[in-house]
Symmetry: C2
């Protein structure tokens, strides 16, 4: 049993999606935070994937690139735990990014089993563009919330996303 961070992307790639009959909103499911989070994420990642596609990224590869560009040389195991992906998926993701010249595997002097992932200049460049694109996508996804509400939401989610 497992629950990856992204799961194979959800079906229904539509960015916006049709309106939902209020009849269904009345059901108990619409009160479950997990369901709401899942639906919000589904909408958000459809939006994000749409803006990332022109850059040759998906939310998955973007998330790896983002950690690599933002954190101090994570190992693949650290990436796996942080992103809640199986180590073997990290291998595939890093392979693709490395082939694209966006990141590089470097030996970890402290542990020769481990490899630290570092961004290349091209990777940092692309990340900057991608991060900007994702911000605009997020802005669309979160259009219903004002700035204060977004901060609130971020804070609450951070509490449950990391324990």
């Amino acid at each position: 049993m497992a629950e990856s961070l992204e799961h194979a992307g959800d079906p229904l790639g539509g960015v916006a999606g049709p309106a939902v009959p209020e009849r269904l909103l009345a059901a108990g499911l619409a009160d479950e935070i997990e369901f709401l989070a899942a639906r919000a994420r589904s909408l958000g990642s459809a939006q994000a994937n749409a803006v990332l596609a022109p850059l040759g990224l998906k939310v998955r590869s973007y998330s790896v690139l983002a950690v690599v560009c933002g954190a101090a040389e994570p190992s693949q195991r650290e990436l796996a735990e942080f992103l809640r992906l199986d180590p073997s998926q990290i291998v595939t993701l890093v392979d693709a990014l490395e082939q694209g010249g966006l990141v590089a595997r470097a030996p970890d002097p402290r542990d020769r089993r481990s490899k630290v992932i570092r961004p290349t200049p091209a990777g940092q460049d692309l990340y900057r563009q991608a991060a900007e694109a994702v911000r605009t996508a997020e802005d669309v996804s979160l259009a219903a919330l004002d700035g204060a509400e977004r901060d609130q939401l971020r804070g609450l989610l951070r509490k449950i996303a990391f324990g």
Copy 2:
């Protein structure tokens, strides 16, 4: 392009997951609401899947059962839109629930193309147990939040999950 609600469940089925180095939290990704929502959902659905397994359900089939038990006879198309799944996935899910004797397809008198899904008594029974199990799982996943924070979070998520 699509993003389903659940996506193929995320990898990394672990319910709790190891602690994350603070070094990674500093990265920009940890500020993105979509990422936080995805991680929260990943943790939550691992938890939920764990408690649902003994009942023969997963979060997916549970979500269908929940809508069916809570709403006024949704059609399969409505289920697909609400859950953000492809109609063909609904076919599979309803097939399984119907085979398990939990729901039934009934012809829609208003539209003979459409089929409304109704719970059987066994389905309603199982739903009650499952809903209770999911509540306890949610309680674990949201342990870091008090009641007021949970209400706040629910409200914010509802705003973005439905437009």
